[in-house]
């Protein structure tokens, strides 16, 4: 799980950012910053569930919980540990 944040960040860069976009870090706002919209969040959630073999309940997959790499990593850790 050490590289969790890096994996999420790279996935966001590869899947949701255009080539000339500004770089992102672990705290860059993803949802409120318009990088990932509420529809696209479904594919990001699906990626995390596939990759870590977890199920994130819809009521916890909120825009706030997905708003940065750090927040997503916290969310994933909760389910991987559980």
């Amino acid at each position: 799980m050490d590289d969790l944040k890096e994996i999420i960040k790279n996935y966001v860069i590869n899947e949701y950012l255009e080539p000339d976009s500004d770089p992102i870090d672990y705290d860059t706002p993803l949802i409120s910053g318009g990088i990932v919209d509420s529809f696209s969040m479904v594919s990001l959630k699906r990626f995390l569930e596939n990759r870590y073999n977890i199920q994130i309940p819809d009521d916890q997959a909120t825009p706030e919980a997905f708003d940065s790499v750090n927040k997503i990593a916290d969310l994933v850790r909760r389910f991987v540990k559980a």
Binding site: D22, P29, S32, G34, S38, S40, V42, R46, P63
Partner: protein, 567 residues
């Protein structure tokens, strides 16, 4: 006191001339939306009044007065003229909700060009088909979106200019690219506005249908007459209001009521260029003391999901009038808003093709939760028998919503597709494609679409377009796309897929296909679920029977299957 007053009085005495007179327009005169929304307001003595309060997701804030938007829209217009672009040519806006989008819209209209706003989340294929169809001459965009344009520019011979509004010089401009900075350019005090008339084309919005590619809905400058008076009476906009329309101008709500309506009334409006977050939205309302809020059921349901506790953290007492658009507003959402805000959301019904609100719950009138309300005065709406397209004589029958054409903001045609336009009319009625019933009080209740078009989060998605794109994925042999119920977005896209030999259905393949469609078309069109099947239900002639899959998703009766291939 509402602007609207009593329904029966308004309906009895209504004439579109009321709007014409308030705007100082006389038939036959020049009418230009860009002028009405900026220069005219300045001439009324409101040059220093705040027109636009803009806030970005980082908290950056910009404020523009009516004189600012007059000058900056002039600056846009002169820049377009200097490029040699002529009246009637199509100029696209492909941007996030930045100030240049709102002001550039008016600037393009001042030149007599047709403005073509497109949703900035569109992928390159969605962008391409719309620019190709409109034979667009120029596109204004941001550096974050320009790579999508670069991917398709070689297939677009009509596209002469790709104009980047936030070019920073870090990488060289490429073929056909031009930099333009609205705020750094020399302000243009005097600009001779192109003399557009009532029937001069103004705005080209694209909308999806069941079959074929998206259609360009062409509006004219006279649409202002409808948009002005409906913004005033339905949204109840007063001179001292602070108005927030949450819609993106890539869609018709964002232009009719996010630009034309409020600016032609000289109202102060605010824009939040940020993704959705309940806390950010409530904070925005509190900070700007928003009084009139026009949003969408999907957003309202997302706010409901965020819970009531969060609302208590904010002072939302400034809110005076709430309205909703995009899809039917469920009664629970209306009752929730009464409970938490002390006032109901008023549902409004209209379409890209209608250009303005045509059926609505009016301010000051009782709201029937779950109903779209009553026809706007000047709009004749009825429920048509689907068999003969005659109005049902009695209330309570479910049929097609038909509108008598002739109001100012009715579309004039589909761009380069007169045949599709003519197909929208039967017996002298415009067919909305929606099914509904009317109760004995004249309120209309939405029942469903009359076709396969998917309304997700208030945006129409064509199953045909998604199916076509799916077939371009290397693993997909056949596909069928339908809607499935969703608690937030009302319905979302679901795809049924058979895979080609050599490919195996898996979760990773599902995700790969989802992302393929998201990037190619848009996040809205991305299937939220893909079901891999061995075969798709087809008629004996080989046509995929979407209705069987749709019925299965919605728990409905499958109906007649006598034409099914394997029955």
């Amino acid at each position: 006191m509402t602007h609207f007053g009593n329904y029966e009085d308004r309906a009895r005495n209504f004439s579109w001339a009321i709007s014409e007179q308030e705007l100082g327009y006389r038939p036959g005169q020049v009418i230009n939306i860009g002028w009405y929304c900026s220069d005219r307001i300045c001439q009324q003595g409101k040059a220093d009044k705040v027109a636009l309060i803009w806030e970005g997701f980082t908290g950056e804030k910009k404020i523009f007065t009516y004189n600012d938007i007059r000058l900056y829209s002039n600056t846009f217009a002169k820049f377009i003229n200097d490029l040699g672009i002529k009246a009637g040519e199509r100029v696209c806006l492909f941007m996030d909700r930045v100030p240049e989008l709102y002001i550039g819209f008016l600037g393009i209209l001042k030149t007599g060009c047709i403005v073509q706003p497109l949703f900035s989340a569109f992928g390159e294929e969605s962008l391409f088909v719309r620019l190709e169809n409109a034979e667009t001459t120029a596109i204004f965009t941001q550096k974050k979106h320009v790579s999508k344009v670069r991917k398709i520019r070689d297939k677009l011979p009509h596209l002469k200019y790709i104009i980047i509004v936030d070019y920073d010089g870090k990488t060289p401009l490429q073929e056909r690219e031009v930099a333009f900075s609205m705020e750094k350019s020399e302000k243009v005090e005097h600009y001779e506005i192109y003399p557009t008339y009532a029937e001069t084309p103004s705005v080209l919005h694209y909308t999806s249908g069941t079959t074929g590619m998206p259609k360009g809905v062409q509006h004219v400058h006279y649409s202002l007459i409808s948009q002005y008076i409906t913004a005033k009476w339905v949204l109840d906009l007063h001179d001292d209001d602070i108005y927030w329309c949450t819609a993106d101008p890539g869609w018709v709500t964002g232009t009719s009521y996010g630009i034309i309506g409020p600016f032609s009334l000289g109202v102060t409006q605010c824009v939040l260029d940020s993704g959705f977050s309940a806390e950010a939205w409530y904070r925005f309302i509190e900070k700007n003391r928003v009084t009139v809020w026009y949003s969408a059921p999907t957003a309202i349901r997302s706010l409901m999901k965020a819970g009531d506790e969060i609302i208590k953290k904010f002072d939302l007492s400034s809110l005076r009038h709430l309205a909703s658009v995009g899809e039917p507003l469920n009664p629970e959402a209306v009752n929730w808003s009464i409970r938490v805000f002390g006032k109901p959301f008023h549902d409004t019904y209209w379409q890209t093709e209608t250009g303005c609100i045509v059926i609505t719950n009016f301010p000051g009138m009782p709201v029937k939760p779950g109903s779209m309300g009553r026809p706007f005065p000047g709009i004749t709406a009825t429920i048509l028998n689907p068999g003969n397209h005659e109005p049902y004589p009695e209330p309570g029958r479910i049929g097609l919503i038909g509108l008598k054409p002739g109001w100012p903001s009715m579309m004039r045609t589909y761009w380069n597709n007169e045949e599709a336009y003519k197909n929208k009319f039967r017996n002298g009625w415009y067919l909305t494609g929606d099914r509904a019933r009317m109760d004995k009080d004249g309120y209309i209740w939405f029942v469903g679409r009359d076709d396969d078009v998917i309304n997700t989060g208030g945006h129409l998605v064509s199953p045909f377009e998604v199916e076509s794109a799916l077939l371009e994925h290397p693993a997909v042999a056949e596909s069928a796309v339908v809607s499935k119920p969703d608690p937030i977005n009302m319905e979302v896209v679901k795809a049924f897929v058979t895979v080609k030999p050599g490919f195996t259905a898996s979760k990773d393949l599902e995700l790969d296909i989802m992302n393929f469609i998201r990037k190619k078309l848009s996040p809205l069109a991305m299937p939220q679920e893909i079901e891999f099947v061995d075969s798709l239900p087809k008629t004996r002639s080989g046509k995929i029977m979407r209705r069987i899959l749709h019925a299965k998703e919605w728990g409905e009766e499958i109906g007649d299957t006598s034409t099914l291939e394997n029955e």
